[in-house]
Symmetry: C2
Subunit: 426 residues, 2 copies
């Protein structure tokens, strides 16, 4: 079976249409999404950081043209904010930041700088809509990175926040490595910048250590301390970034950082596509209305090409096997109703499903469906006999779709000419 066939679904078995809504609601289980006044699962915003966090990915080198192409595609996709590398990082970073601000994109343009007046001034001078400032507050960072104590950090934070506000620009203040900070220090600092009128505070799992219940607890606590929006940034070192983002929204966070395919420092952050796969299950109408999901695959391809990587085989939604069904018991049910084994409708993302039938785990329902797809006619008893034959051959070596179709056609030809049962039972 070729990967191409599985990806575009052209050779897949035809199945009835899909209804995600029904899947999400047609049960009496209490373990479903219920109204929760604190949750922002149905009204989150995306801060897309491919051009900031993503530039810290090992393979990333974005020239001006590529940055503009990615920024434009993300804005058309519908992300709320696009975050760029600090203009202080290098002369080209500054020039690119200025150029992207002048494009007049629908998405707001942010840049991400150290928490200093100098960096904040440079950022504002570039024409950004907002500045995301960050400072390390964990005991690890205080000891090994900048070495400042909390009083000094608070003073510096307030100066920078007030300066950026005075320039009429949106400002976010974030700690780094928030889950290893002292909780009281963190809440004191955030309350101080909230009182100074910061637009957002940021929680960052810089090392990827947080688990969903830790995230829920910290964001829920913070939600009771500050009035401003809450942005969250999760690294994926332990594969919890998307689940942590979801838990944060349940606890009242408002903004989630993503990057295309998750690229960033080490193995990166919450990937845009995987995050939206999670969110479309929870808030299908909001996600489908707000984001042009059919563009996802193209955007991923643009970024994958720019940083010389392959889209992972198991990438949610766009990975080649995301909607491929194989086991006999699964295929039978999928053919009756896709919602049985699919929580996401591939069509929402312009993708197709594919039901595998040429392998030893196959069931006769899949073969029957393929027989019909080929325009042939057989009784159920004949299809069952044919299925045994295909399974026996697929038990010896992998069968390509052409092989299986040849067996089906040969069997059908025999049916029309003679006593097939005897010949094929040998």
């Amino acid at each position: 079976m070729s990967i191409g066939a599985a990806t575009n679904g052209a050779a897949g078995l035809p199945v009835p249409s899909h209804n995600t809504q029904a899947a999400a609601t047609a049960t009496t289980s209490p373990y479903q999404h219920i109204a929760d006044f604190i949750s922002n699962v149905g009204k989150f915003k995306i801060i897309e950081s491919t051009l900031r966090e993503g530039e810290q990915f090992a393979n990333a080198f974005f020239d001006t043209e590529t940055k503009i192409k990615i920024a434009t595609a993300l804005s058309e996709f519908g992300v709320d904010y696009i975050e760029l590398t600090s203009p202080c990082a290098s002369p080209a970073s500054r020039a690119d930041c200025e150029a992207i601000c002048k494009l007049g994109l629908k998405a707001k343009i942010l840049t991400h700088t150290r928490c200093t007046l100098e960096d904040a001034k440079t950022a504002c001078d570039c024409g950004v809509d907002g500045v995301d400032v960050v400072i390390g507050t964990s005991s690890f960072l205080r000891e090994h990175s900048h070495g400042k104590d909390m009083a000094a950090i608070t003073k510096q934070a307030l100066e920078v926040v007030n300066y950026i506000k005075s320039r009429g620009v949106e400002v976010r203040f974030s700690s780094e490595d928030s889950f290893r900070c002292d909780l009281v220090d963190l809440l004191s600092l955030y309350r101080a910048v909230d009182n100074a009128g910061v637009h957002r505070v940021g929680i960052a799992d810089t090392v990827g250590c947080a688990s969903p219940r830790q995230v829920y607890d910290l964001v829920r606590t913070l939600r009771g301390v500050v009035k401003c929006d809450i942005e969250c940034h999760f690294h994926d070192d332990t594969s919890c970034a998307v689940a942590n983002a979801y838990s944060a929204l349940e606890a009242g966070a408002t903004h989630i950082d993503t990057s295309v395919l998750g690229i960033g420092e080490r193995n990166g952050i919450a990937p845009l596509g995987a995050f939206l796969a999670r969110m479309i299950v929870a808030a299908p109408e909001y996600v489908k209305r707000k984001y042009d999901l059919h563009r996802l695959k193209d955007i991923e391809n643009i970024v994958a090409e720019a940083v010389h990587i392959n889209v992972p085989f198991n990438n949610p939604v766009t990975g080649f096997c995301a909607f491929t069904h194989k086991a006999g018991i699964h295929s039978k049910a999928i053919l009756n109703s896709p919602s049985t084994y699919e929580i996401i409708n591939p069509e929402d993302f312009g993708m197709s499903r594919y039901v595998h039938f040429a392998h030893r785990l196959t069931g006769w329902n899949s073969i029957k469906s393929r027989v019909e797809q080929l325009g042939l006619h057989m009784t159920d008893a004949q299809v069952k006999l044919l299925t045994t034959k295909i399974k026996a051959m697929a038990d010896v070596r992998p069968l390509a779709i052409d092989d299986a179709d040849s067996i089906i056609r040969a069997f059908h030809l025999d049916l029309q000419e003679r006593d097939t049962t005897k010949i094929w039972e040998n």
Copy 2:
């Protein structure tokens, strides 16, 4: 910068040794793991399903030799159980199951069958240590798959459980699509099989719809209803499989299903490596004592080769960029203390970290470290001047490590011969 260099770390900057333990405890934040008598985070077992769930992966066709190689490697790695495709799936599946049972591996051998007496008998005849039986119980599956009502399901479950126990074999009973089942139906069924002496009940997120808080709530509720062990199986359609597994253990689950690289139906289940990345952060001593983590990369390579896939670029632990650091601010801190930006010690898995320095986001600390690594001597002021030069060149095009080293050596040569400052400031 070549990927090879990043992977083996040979060209990376030298950094002090790593202390995960310190990272996990040296803070006063309450958002850390605290003693919790219900949690099994520190004493979980792994049911490795590459040879069952993994065989349902689109590209999978394992011949006998490959199955034996994978089973042996997994047993040596230290997984508790190895789950095989049902011997009823095909004649080769049966022969392979019998062959693997005869290997005398340290891991217990399970097979996974439909909940029927016929399948259970065939499984027991193969010599397995345990049979995992499964039946669809969600309203979706009852309508579109087998069509049985709950009374009939319960009767059938008890017959099969009693039969397998009568053969002296371990038995697990699982529902399919547990998160879309009626809760009362589910708990009634599980209590019935628990009273019949089933060894484990299984919760399966067959469609990948569950979120961590749903998982915690359902497993926590079930923990209060049954005395037996609780196994959990999470699909990764919305990137929550590992986080869900972790939440399940926190709520009292005892066994987690994994597959190598997560291969399985659609985009698969919780990957063995990613799951252990999560667990080593939470329970470092248990994980390091129980599993031979240095074998992980080899096992992933065996499976990737067998199913013709590449290890994803962002795979936790073994992906080429898992321990690569790039931003100037990160590299500076990593050079002082790895725990600052790493929650996992790469050495625990036989991997190395790599600090990128030949790019426009670099900082002078990284360059200084590289200068020292090359055995050269410069003052800090000289290194800062050199850094400006390297950043300027990396701003125009990507720099290979050789390019950067050439610049460093040329600069150093000039230092020894003449008034470098003037020349390099041009």
